[in-house]
């Protein structure tokens, strides 16, 4: 059986690739893809944690009740990710209609300087 750490390493690698992607890429669609990748990395770690239950071997005196299930969380994350992307693509369309270009470099999205 593949140990839990393999899943965790894979998920952290995916997570940080996504993070780097959001911070460095300039194309909105790629940025959304990177955010999706981060969320899916989280999903992977949730599923792995729920399957392996690492807390059981730690010997708590108070065992947590089995009502919190990480796999249910995964469903919520997928729903939220879909909603976020729907709003995001709508916004990209709105910006495109006003400016006719969609990249986040110096021509379009720099009228606000934070």
């Amino acid at each position: 059986m593949i140990p839990l750490s393999h899943y965790l390493i894979l998920s952290s690698v995916l997570f940080f690739i996504g993070l780097l992607g959001v911070l460095t890429k300039r194309n909105p669609v790629i940025m959304f893809m990177c955010i999706e990748m981060m969320l899916n990395a989280v999903n992977l770690s949730f599923v792995a944690f729920t399957r392996y239950k690492p807390w059981e071997s730690l010997g708590f005196s108070m065992i947590p009740i089995e009502q919190d299930n990480g796999q249910i969380f995964v469903l919520f994350i997928m729903t939220v990710a879909a909603a976020e992307v729907a709003v995001g693509l709508g916004l990209v369309m709105a910006i495109f209609r006003k400016k006719q270009i969609v990249t986040t470099d110096d021509q379009t999205l720099t009228s606000l300087k934070g």
């Binding site: 919190d68 995001g88 400016k99």
Partner: protein, 486 residues
């Protein structure tokens, strides 16, 4: 009778259900009547629904709870209920000041109000729950509604740009938050913050996994409360968003995020050697850097963005000094500061929303001239709110700051005390700058009758509530402190 008995355990969910139904009702009204109804009728619908929610909140007595689902997921304590009350009330005030503004901006979208009520629902979930799943859902419901609301104007490219930036950064940070949730879950086996706290205290539990989880969780939530290294989105979003939404962002959204941070800090108190000093430094930078940045801004909205960041720093100081010294310090300090800050900001943005032009969301300082001539009440509100933010003694803002300072001294957080005093001193300058500009009488300025035409009932009401809250606060306070026995 059986049906009633079935519903009894869920009665404490009424405040949330009312807020949700308000949003749905507005959409249904929109579907039936199309564009025939004026915006004010939707605003009234929202106000009525929220008043029902407040009433059900006041009548909820914590007697009967469903111990299987209800209690573990949504169980506001008395502190949380006060925060919920403040948030609902502030949202009603924002709604009252918004309809004329939306007409001016030609935003004929009743969806605005349903999104506003659902955003409030998200904020309520964040405040009322101690379950990471529900807190996460609250964060997302709040943020996704706010992404849309920020970019709701269709003439202004800046608005969409602000919405887009907010979306990308918010999406990134919610992924970070989730990663933290997954680690916390993985190493404790629960989403329930109470159980996590129990495990940490009873088992002397500190494994690396849960520390990593804590760092990610805090990062995600501190982004929402715009603390120093994660504040870069703040001025852009504040500037691009419609004035009403700026007001919402700096009051309800910020309060909800603070409340979530507070719950997190309480839970992870035993691991304080991991987070305490980084956190203190972040708060110091939030306050000092925030005031310095506010000082150099040329746009009032951007200045207020940094000002709200600074006030967030004060709130966090209060929260931290409570968390450090739970036995001796009272929660009412935080409540008083949050209430006064929220009501003051609402009054302020209410006046400012009458001053922005039709086609642009920018508000340079020069646009504040002549306010005194057009609306005496608006001018007076601005002056009172600014003096309260500065901390002139008889006003509410002074009381809030004073209580937080004395709490911080009690918990021996001297670096924070010094930073807070420095930042208050700097903030005096830029708040007085606003007072100077609104009192200036520039002969060549032509604001026309715009402001006069926008004085609605809501405008007067919000101003009066805001002024009276700030002025009366110190007198009511004595009563508060007597109750809590400080």
């Amino acid at each position: 009778m059986n049906i009633i008995n079935d519903f009894l355990p869920y009665l404490h969910l009424c405040p949330f259900v009312f807020v949700f139904l308000t949003g749905a009702c507005i959409l249904i009204l929109r579907m039936i009547y199309g564009n025939q109804l004026a915006m004010v009728s939707y605003a009234i619908t929202l106000a009525v629904g929220f008043i029902l929610s407040i009433i059900s909140l006041l009548f909820d007595q914590n007697i009967e709870k469903d111990y299987i689902y209800g209690e573990s997921l949504l169980n506001p304590g008395s502190f949380d209920k006060c925060i919920l009350f403040i948030m609902l009330f502030v949202t009603i005030l924002i709604t009252m000041s918004s309809y004329k503004y939306l007409e001016k901006k030609k935003i004929k979208a009743p969806e605005f109000y349903s999104l506003l009520s659902w955003a409030t629902l998200g904020a309520m979930l964040m405040v009322a729950s101690k379950n990471l799943l529900i807190i996460f859902l609250g964060v997302e419901v709040l943020s996704i509604s706010l992404y849309v609301l920020t970019s709701i104007t269709d003439y202004d490219a800046k608005s969409s740009e602000a919405g887009f930036k907010y979306l990308i950064m918010g999406g990134l940070m919610s992924a970070v938050l989730l990663y933290g949730v997954s680690f916390t879950y993985g190493f404790t086996g629960t989403f329930q913050l109470d159980t996590v706290k129990h495990i940490l205290v009873q088992e002397q539990y500190n494994i690396y996994g849960i520390k990593i989880g804590l760092i990610f969780l805090l990062t995600g939530l501190l982004f929402k409360s715009s603390v120093f290294p994660f504040h870069f989105w703040l001025p852009d979003v504040y500037q691009g968003a419609p004035m009403v939404i700026t007001s919402y962002l700096s009051t309800v959204s910020k309060t909800a995020a603070m409340s979530a941070v507070y719950k997190l800090l309480i839970t992870f108190m035993t691991l304080k050697d991991v987070w305490l000093w980084p956190f203190v430094f972040m708060i110091i930078f939030t306050m000092v850097l925030g005031s310095c940045m506010a000082f150099v801004q040329k746009d009032v909205k951007r200045m207020l963005a940094y000002s709200s960041m600074v006030n967030g720093g004060y709130m966090l100081t209060g929260i931290l000094s409570y968390v450090m010294n739970v036995q001796n310090i009272d929660q009412s300090t935080m409540l008083i500061f949050i209430a006064i800050y929220n009501l003051g900001s609402v009054g302020l943005y209410n006046v400012l929303s009458t001053l922005v032009k039709e086609k642009s969301e920018d508000l340079p300082y020069e646009q504040l001239h002549h306010l005194k001539q057009f609306s005496k009440l608006g001018w007076f509100t601005m002056v009172i709110v600014m003096f309260s933010f500065i901390g002139i003694p008889p006003l509410g803002g002074f009381v809030g700051k004073f209580l937080i300072l004395s709490d911080a001294i009690d918990s021996s957080l001297m670096p924070l005390v010094i930073a807070m005093i420095i930042s208050s001193a700097i903030s005096t300058i830029y708040y007085l700058k606003v007072v100077g500009h609104i009192s200036a009488e520039n002969q060549s300025a032509t604001i026309s009758n715009k402001v006069r035409s926008e004085k609605t009932v809501g405008y007067y009401f919000v101003n009066v509530v805001s002024i009276s809250a700030i002025v009366i606060a110190p007198f009511v306070l004595k009563y508060f402190l007597n109750i809590t026995g400080k």
